[in-house]
């Protein structure tokens, strides 16, 4: 009798344990989504410059449930970058996106596997960078002036090329998340979009110009 009593008690305890485990399992509804994190560094006091890129970054984070560690820097040395990479690694971030490092970093050789620099001029300083590929024609960035658009629509001007900074920001985030399991990133070279009469007539890009 005693032996089977002990068996019963242990059985009951195991059942309770499993019940607790399954309740905990169910309770945390976000268990399926691991906390995804990317660190982004903006130049301080440059809101107009980063507005579109920031929107692209925010939209990506919203779409793919990514938490961002945002830092505003006036200056950043190579050591600072080192410390940042280390700390972010501790915080389980997937990578670091440096937005326009030309504003706060000096030229140099920064070699990191998971640091992407969104830049216009500092591509050679970083192993991986995101920027626009060169076009011979004039390029503009958002926001675009209405008069310019009108002239193109009316045919008074040659088609212009639009450097879509929103898209660059979005794609940079996409690159960092996409390469989380690989050992390194790759470069992003976005081709500027051609804006000519036809495109404006079609109106599919209208939302880009909407302020």
């Amino acid at each position: 009798m005693k032996q089977s009593k002990a068996k019963h008690i242990i059985l009951v305890v195991i059942i309770i344990c499993m019940a607790i485990v399954s309740i905990l399992y169910m309770r945390n509804r976000d268990y399926a989504q691991k906390n995804k994190r990317i660190a982004v560094v903006y130049p301080k006091n440059n809101q107009t410059m980063i507005q579109e890129v920031q929107e692209g970054i925010q939209d990506y984070a919203y779409d793919h449930h990514i938490q961002c560690d945002i830092w505003y820097k006036e200056t950043m040395s190579s050591n600072d970058l080192d410390t940042l990479v280390e700390e972010e690694h501790k915080n389980q971030s997937m990578g670091i996106l440096l937005v326009y490092p030309e504003k706060y970093m000096k030229k140099g050789k920064y070699k990191y596997g998971h640091v992407l620099a969104l830049t216009d001029t500092m591509q050679p300083s970083f192993t991986y960078s995101a920027s626009f590929s060169q076009v011979s024609d004039d390029t503009v960035r958002l926001p675009v002036d209405f008069d310019l658009l009108k002239e193109i629509k009316d045919g008074q001007r040659n088609p212009i090329y639009l450097e879509n900074t929103y898209k660059l920001g979005y794609k940079s985030m996409e690159m960092i998340e996409g390469c989380v399991n690989k050992s390194h990133l790759s470069n992003i070279r976005l081709k500027p979009d051609k804006i000519d009469q036809g495109v404006l007539e079609k109106g599919s890009k209208a939302s880009l110009f909407c302020d």
Binding site: S4, K7, H8, L11, I15, M18, A19, S22, Y25, M26, R29, A32, E55, G56, D59, Y62, D63, H64, P143, V144, F146, D147, L149, K150, N164, Y166, K167, Y170, K171, G203, S204, K205, A206, S207, L208, F209, C210, D211
Partner: protein
């Protein structure tokens, strides 16, 4: 030998477990099926409600725009001449009142020339514009055109809302087209309330399936997103669940009244599926646990039943093999305990009976030993030989010869080649031999007669049965008798049994003496065989049963009669 396959111990728990498992699995499957369809129905209902509420709000907004346009038409345009200054102030007032909804109001004649316009409107040739043509064609309804960016500020979108009007120009009623540039912002804010995310969002299309509102427009314009649900939405009647890129999406479409726009709500079912699956897993685990517990429990319970039975089985086997000391443990539920107890009782009984039999056997052995012993009683022999020697010395040669011959016969029949049972005839001879010897020794103190039914002579009787009685008769009965002692041996049949009477006319005996003789254990006696009446009685009873034996009746001074009652037993090989 246990046939393992059919062992009760295995079959019953297995059957129970299989049935429990079957129950659980069927209920799980049923549950799964019901649950999934419930979840799906629930999701569809939820989206239904959302789309209804959005549709209502949008229709309300459209209705208010319609009211506004009609107000401008009926209250203002129809009342005033278009040149009227008051008209102009009223229109300006309208415009500023509704400045957050309307960008401009303009009136064009049928050739496309502007009659008047208030607000930031363009005045280029409008007769080719779609809104112009649509209003021209449908004069009763208000036309909703495509949306485009507000110019020049590019701060939002406007939609061309036009209708056919009749206005007063210098007293003449002329047909024209009224154009109101309506900010789409109110509609956008209604749709934005939906909190659009990639997994749950809504969008609005106009009649030509261009987007009036789409939450991911910026991404689409940048080539980062493509809306893949349009065709599925248009094909569906109410809602459809489509699989796009290995993910299930719930797409529901509703048409907006008056404008023919379509609002589409898209919800990802994969979140639902994940929730579903998780819920399922939990329930499965719980059910499996319950099943495991139940199976374990019923195995336990069964043990409680089958173990005592098996123990009893073992005990019985041991018992059968010869270990008669083993008893079953009296434990178990209810009747099982009784089973063991009763087995024990039976075992006890058996053991006792066996003891009894053994005891009887031992007694029999003892008795037979004695019999054997008594077959040659030395004292009687010496006495008789002495008598013979005396008679020879006395030159009573006849008497001596008689004695020798009787002695020989006596001992020959006593031995009877070791047989236990001899024919009654022989026994009588034995008895007469004894009597003759005693007669001679006691100098004819008594007389004896034998009256035997000849028919009964062939039947068997244990040897040395009559002689002890004769002993008693001579030594107890003939004492004190001088020359008139008589001993009579009668053998007759009564009630199917054989009766042998040994009667004497002696002193008789008291009750006590009777008792004494019946129960006296005689070890050895000089007088005869040494077997007492008791032994004879016991022997008879042992062989034939308790209903046979010796009875003695006596009357003081009259005589004593000892009667042997035995059944008829013929000589067969069995009597050994």
């Amino acid at each position: 030998m246990k046939n393992k396959k059919l062992s009760v111990r295995v079959i019953l728990p297995v059957v129970m477990s299989v049935s429990i498992a079957a129950c659980i699995i069927t209920s799980m499957m049923l549950f799964s099926y019901l649950f999934s369809s419930y979840f799906e129905k629930d999701a569809v209902e939820k989206v239904d409600r959302q789309i209804s509420s959005l549709t209502q709000s949008i229709e309300k907004e459209i209705s208010s725009v319609n009211n506004l346009v009609n107000e401008i038409y009926y209250q203002d345009i129809k009342k005033y001449d278009c040149d009227n200054a008051e008209f102009k102030t009223i229109m300006k007032q309208q415009l500023s009142n509704e400045s957050d909804r309307i960008n401009s109001i303009s009136l064009y004649d049928m050739d496309g020339n502007a009659v008047w316009s208030f607000g930031d409107a363009k005045n280029i040739s409008v007769s080719s514009k779609s809104w112009f043509k649509n209003a021209e064609r449908n004069i009763e309804t208000i036309q909703y055109g495509r949306r485009r960016l507000v110019e020049p500020s590019l701060s939002g979108y406007v939609m061309d809302v036009s209708r056919y009007v009749e206005y007063i120009d210098h007293g003449y009623m002329k047909p024209g087209i009224l154009l109101v540039e309506y900010y789409t912002e109110p509609i956008e804010s209604i749709l934005e309330r939906y909190s659009n995310q990639l997994s749950a969002y809504c969008y609005l299309m106009d009649e030509s399936n261009n987007f009036i509102y789409h939450p991911f427009e910026l991404r689409m314009a940048s080539g980062l997103y493509r809306e893949k649900t349009v065709s599925a939405a248009l094909k569906s009647n109410n809602y459809v669940i489509k699989s796009i890129n290995h993910e299930e999406w719930l797409i529901e479409r509703k048409q907006i009244g008056y404008t023919g726009w379509n609002i589409v709500v898209v919800n990802s079912m994969s979140n639902l599926a994940i929730e579903n699956r998780r819920f399922h897993n939990i329930i499965w685990i719980i059910m499996l646990l319950i099943g495991a517990v139940m199976i374990l429990l019923d195995i336990e319970v069964f043990r409680n039943f089958t173990d005592p039975v098996y123990r009893l089985l073992n005990t019985m086997e041991e018992f059968g093999r010869g270990d008669y000391e083993t008893r079953a443990k009296e434990e178990g539920i209810g009747e099982l305990k009784n089973l063991s107890a009763n087995f024990n009782i039976m075992a006890d009984q058996l053991q006792k009976q066996m003891e009894e039999i053994r005891q009887n056997e031992r007694e029999k052995q003892k008795m037979e030993k004695k019999l054997l012993q008594s077959q040659i009683n030395p004292h009687f022999l010496y006495n008789t030989l002495d008598s013979i020697i005396w008679m020879i010395h006395s030159e009573e040669y006849e008497g001596a010869a008689e004695m020798v011959s009787s002695l020989a016969k006596f001992f020959r029949i006593s031995l009877s080649q070791g047989k236990d049972m001899i024919p009654l005839g022989k026994e009588l001879e034995h008895a007469t031999s004894y009597l003759k010897i005693q007669n001679i020794r006691f100098k004819d103190k008594f007389d004896f007669h034998v009256e035997a039914d000849q028919k009964l002579m062939k039947y068997l009787i244990p040897k040395l049965s009559i002689q002890p009685l004769l002993e008693n008769a001579i030594y107890h009965g003939m004492e004190g008798m001088y020359d008139d002692g008589e001993i009579l041996i009668s053998v007759y049949e009564e009630d199917g049994n054989i009766k042998i009477d040994v009667a004497d006319n002696g002193l008789g005996m008291t009750e006590e003496k009777l008792e004494y003789i019946m129960h006296k254990q005689v070890v050895s006696s000089k007088r005869g065989s040494g077997i007492g009446v008791r032994n004879v009685n016991e022997r008879i009873q042992l062989i034939y049963g308790k209903q046979y034996g010796i009875t003695i009746s006596s009357e003081l001074d009259e005589g004593t009669t000892a009667t042997i009652i035995i059944p008829k037993m013929e000589e067969t090989d069995e009597t050994e």
